[in-house]
Symmetry: D2
Subunit: 451 residues, 4 copies
């Protein structure tokens, strides 16, 4: 480990191994990418930029290049001006023959490069995040199909409520994940490059190359980076950042729901679910901790506040570049990308390895000795024996008496034989549209949702 590295992931197990695309090295590479793209953008518009030569001189400045810039030293020299682009430009210019030097960072302001680089990094990260979410979705969809009709206890406010199915629970996770995929994809598709010059007027570009080139430059720059062309400079119109942030938080939320359910349902007493590879404990080798769920949850508890920081920064984007709000954005956005990368990757492996213990599901289903069907008993028997009698039956059953016997007795007293108690108390017959709702998600019927 470099003695200078602030953070190698020691306190962030949820992101370790998943955040290579958002490291400071990746940021630095993207900053260089942005400077290179700017030179190419001029060239692409017919301005006689010595693009190839300049680009060649800059390329090897990337981490991993033949003559990499030291990111830590760059960070140190970024303090005085408050951002790393100022010293970076000095370093890059020094690599270019003086004749061509003017083409480096030509007309740009720090924010153009930093914003574009962050969007580029976000683009790369969101691709991975969406891929992990898709893996999660696929695995959970298969799980939903496989357990379509496996009846389980639904729980509300921690208590057994009515029957549901394992498949429906998995389908619910899928819906959340799917929606998150849509949002992440949409946010990724619209990530814009930034190019506005010091005050967002593009005056420096006009000065250098005339209004026509200046007008085309943001689009050309964006194309070179694989980013969306900005409608206009967005120095203080930060929705590209907050919409991205919102989508990332939403993705983590969706993984968080999965993790919350897995952590809960893998409790020692419940045991309906188990992670494929539980986290071990040094002292207690028997424990199979829901480690992925725990890690995902750690991300889910942090992400919303990071999203809030992005919104605050957006709301305080005063002047043509704000006095702190912009700077607050960078690490918050990067942390959010890291968390989304980690949480989605763990969600994928969790989903792939998730095991259902059908015995435990069945055992828990039977735990309340029929009271899981109390709602149904109410609905069916209420009109026959009266609500008061139903309440008495449920109450007695809750105290330990046999529900079926109590019902039979009441039916006899009511002189009716219209109700068949066995089927009435069969949880498998009180799962409503669970199967259909699963099918809508798995696509196994003709009635596919349109959404």
């Amino acid at each position: 480990m470099s003695e200078h590295a602030r953070d190698v992931g020691l306190l962030s197990p949820v992101t370790v191994g998943h955040d290579d695309v958002v490291t400071d090295a990746a940021i630095l590479a993207a900053l260089v990418d942005a400077e290179v793209a700017l030179v190419h953008a001029y060239a692409s518009l017919g301005v006689a930029a010595p693009a190839a030569a300049v680009a060649a001189a800059l390329e090897d400045a990337r981490p991993g290049g033949t003559d990499p810039i030291d990111a830590r030293a760059l960070a140190e020299s970024s303090v005085a001006g408050g951002n790393p682009v100022i010293p970076l430009v000095r370093l890059l210019k020094a690599r270019v023959p003086s004749a061509d030097r003017a083409w480096v960072h030509r007309g740009a302001t720090s924010q153009d490069i930093l914003d574009s680089a962050l969007m580029l990094v976000a683009k790369r990260a969101t691709g991975l995040i969406a891929a992990s979410l898709r893996e999660t979705e696929a695995a959970l969809t298969a799980l939903a199909a496989a357990h379509r009709d496996e009846v389980a206890a639904a729980r509300t406010l921690t208590q057994h409520a009515v029957p549901t199915t394992v498949g429906l629970r998995a389908s619910t996770w899928v819906r959340g994940i799917r929606r998150a995929i849509e949002r992440v994809d949409a946010a990724a598709a619209q990530l814009p490059a930034q190019l506005g010059g010091a005050g967002g007027t593009l005056a420096s570009f006009v000065e250098h190359a005339g209004p026509e080139v200046a007008s085309g430059l943001p689009g050309a720059f964006a194309r070179g980076l694989g980013l969306a062309a900005p409608e206009a400079p967005w120095h203080t119109t930060r929705w590209p950042v907050t919409e991205l942030g919102d989508a990332l938080v939403q993705a983590i939320d969706a993984a968080g729901v999965l993790a919350a359910d897995v952590a809960t349902l893998s409790r020692t007493e419940i045991g309906e679910l188990a992670e494929g590879s539980g986290g071990g404990s040094s002292a207690m080798p028997q424990k199979q901790n829901p480690a992925a769920s725990v890690l995902i949850r750690s991300a889910a508890l942090r992400a919303p506040q990071l999203g809030a920081t992005l919104h605050l920064a957006a709301a305080l984007a005063v002047d043509e570049r704000p006095d702190g709000a912009w700077h607050a954005e960078w690490p918050a956005l990067r942390d959010l990308l890291r968390l989304a990368l980690g949480a989605s990757a763990h969600a994928a492996s969790l989903a792939r390895g998730l095991r259902v213990d059908s015995d435990a599901v069945a055992r828990n289903l039977a735990l309340t000795r029929g009271l899981l069907l109390a709602e149904r008993v109410s609905l069916v028997l209420g009109p026959v024996v009266g609500a008061a009698r139903v309440a008495a039956i449920v109450s007695a059953a809750a105290e330990g008496e046999d529900l079926e016997a109590l019902i039979e007795e009441a039916l006899i007293e009511a002189g009716t034989s219209s109700v068949d108690v066995g089927p009435l108390l069969d949880p498998a017959r009180y799962t409503g549209l669970a199967g259909e709702l699963v099918d809508r998600v798995t696509g196994s019927t003709a009635e596919i949702e349109e959404a």
Copy 2:
């Protein structure tokens, strides 16, 4: 004032007068609306519900109805069960003849009604919010057009940087507001009704009316309420709430940027902008406080954390109904709606009344005696007299020497006459594409953005 009212707005001037649609009375009315809509939904599907009779019995329970339910008493009776629907159903059933009573709340769970009612309230609120944002947009667009070419100092990190225009600044506000409108509209259009029964399986509806009716019921219910048909129950898939929340925060962010700029630019020393009707001070009658901006900013500082609460609640939506996360959502969402209603309404009035003091704009523009053009001087003179000389010139000018004279001297020394210093130092000639960027927003040219 009712002695029971918790809150009449005394500590929330930003929302007073704008939040009638999200009061507890409005929530209560929406709860009744949801119960009425459920009865109608059955009827609309051909189930012989005595819809008209039941609806008639429920209608007058609304606040403002002929026999309104007391919201405060209802709140008090909601504590034991943790939500107001449980006691509400009891009260509503008591209003219906016993023969029809079974049609009230038939098959529904509290969450169905409460979630649907909140979405209904959100629908009504977002309509008003979007309308206020549109008024804001229109007023600011007109402002941008009117001041298209009025040159002003652009400020970065609090310091004069380069020239911009008043029109471009206004256009930037417009872009933020427009994007927010899109998001609020999109969120409003997708607000779904909720109908899933106790465990999200719709089992109770199937029990009552068979699978076919049950399958159609959510859509019919949604149509009756003017809400989107849910793809499936979303008891624990809370993106309808978080996406709405994100859009509301984004709207407040956009208003916040406007307010931040107005508050800053109306500072006594700056004076470029003034609110149409400044807030007075009892003790200091001369003060014209940017009261609307202050109020909007108070909302902008609160909103992101409320949005974060919604995301947290979403990420912790365990089981088939979570043990606290759902309950945390309600007041956070309502507060966010209130803030968005208030902030957008104040943004509209602020935008309509906003005054530009062109003298102040011009005075500030001249404040640095040409140094606002330093970037341009650099770009133009650098190749001619060298970067070192330019730096010396700027430095001397910053110390008080005459910039124009310094430049002339340098040009003479360099033996060049290629640069015309007067135009070089004219800020109006260094506004880049500001005019075009304004036109894209105001639509006054053919080059309308496609977005």
Copy 3:
């Protein structure tokens, strides 16, 4: 319900019935209290203020007074100036004979009155909060004592880990609650009055009454209100607000831990704890929801973000009165007080009624058939039979083999008789210092902690 009331608690069951001291009516009363106290403060310093007459004229303006000011109307007239004190002063002055009118609000600025009133309301609320926390503490301490030696499964990362005791778990809750009491008490004791005049210099008071009186006035004002004398005006030094907020969040955190454990341990499958009076369900009469825990948790999920808003407001307290940050504070602080009032009250009733199901505790303890002692088996057998063998034993036991038999077999193979397996696997013999840790909390031994 007043048709104007924004909020009667319908969406906030956790606070209903507990927040009378922080309603808008209570705020209004405190505003009047502050104005009255100012008049008395002048009088107490020998300035010939017609204190009695003025006070008499103001007294009946309080909600509940003989001629109460309408809080809603006041709220409406507060929008223009951005705070309710400006119109309040007008209303109050109109109640005083013109000869004495100058003594109303004499020298004060809106912030003096509003800050002081909020501190006064906070003082009243924190008294109730601390009282509820003390009730909670007492009930939980008694529970800890009563269940001092009742062995239970300790759970880490959701899995059974090692034995603990019900008493130690309760003691842990007590420690959190006790610490919160200390913090709330400390925050309450230091709540300062505010008196600084428009710019925090007290110039207006000096103008009216000379420097000596002005110097004594803040202290006299504070005494009259039962608040701490301010060291200096704290218009933009907001630690009194944030320290209060932090203490309130800490109190809610402590209640939150209790609620989290109760909600978890009262799950249908676990059943070790039950709230005294569970919340019913309309549709599922058998359910005994942990309603108080759910409500407390809803507060615990909201409170941290409200605390964050107070800190943001504090950090942005620019100038001599900030342009929005101050206004953002009021509703956030009030909401936090409401939540702390509600959460602490519910914690008290939850603690009083909390029931331990000792059968369930014992049943769960036995659930892993001895594996709860795996750590101990490791510690004891490791040196005897080797770590590898221990791991094999634990692993086999986890697969269902009999742990005791496996150990006996290993000991025989190792040829040792030094270990007595029965006691080794007795969870009651592996609770460490649990008893002592309980005693430290309950004070039942001489070794009372000093803290």
Copy 4:
């Protein structure tokens, strides 16, 4: 830069150069410190631990040691179990001769080591933070003394309100900083070691060494680390973390207020303050950005949400070790320490270098041509010429008429000569107790505050 380093500070200029004590290397060193201290603690209690030998074997595992553990590799191996202590213990044990190996991590659980290490790191960091705050305090106190009587415009809601002094403004900053020092010191003094074993009962320690040693072990362990002895294990009673977090946020708030004022008052149009060494701009060499203020503000916008995350984690600390909340704490706490280190260091250098431009102060003071005294005019003239006339005078003056002449005219009309207009409009005569309030802070009078 290591290619593996996640973060070398590139996106966090506010913390670069100030966070060496909280890097992952520092965390790793503290983890080793904790393991070493545990061995020594046993030895200190007379248990025949081979402390010296074991410690010697562990010492060189620290980063910078002769055989350092690779932090990144450790991070990678921490994922499976969810925390870095599990693999660390394996690595450390392997360094110790097998005979002594059992003394490594003896009886401890991961949380004991990780919590203790974080507290140790916090201890080191808070020392630096408090030192920086003390430097800030000293510099600002000197500034307050030096500018005790320099009259300046006080601003409320962005507008000039009444006079104040530069010294009083500085004193206000000092008060915030002082209070923060108290809180940071108090939090630092109470940072506890953690030692409870797997379930917080210390059972493993009792097993190893008997109850007496086990009882003394936490204290001995804490002493060895220079931390406070824990009252009891605090695995799920997280106030040591939240109180620390609250103090850190408060420190950042206090620096934030300073930064907000400096950023505002160094605006081009205002210019009353300037940072000693402004941040340069590549493109605009004339700009003297308030770079330190900007960086501090970036921290101030992030810190509150990190504090909120700590509280959330505390409130969700379920069971004997929670399923995610604990893990969410670590990076949030570390980030908060980083931000406090950076913000306080920049506050110190900002305070040391802060320059007052007395010409600008005077120029701004005169900007409203006397209207800054409107409150005083009201107070003094109101009783003489009537409030309506005063309002008319102020209004006319606000429109540009000469205030002094208007007053003279009114006094003549009123036939009074009791008011001397020159002194009345002298801002230096309307600064109230500003001087005294400064003296209380600078300690230059006998009336030193007791606080």
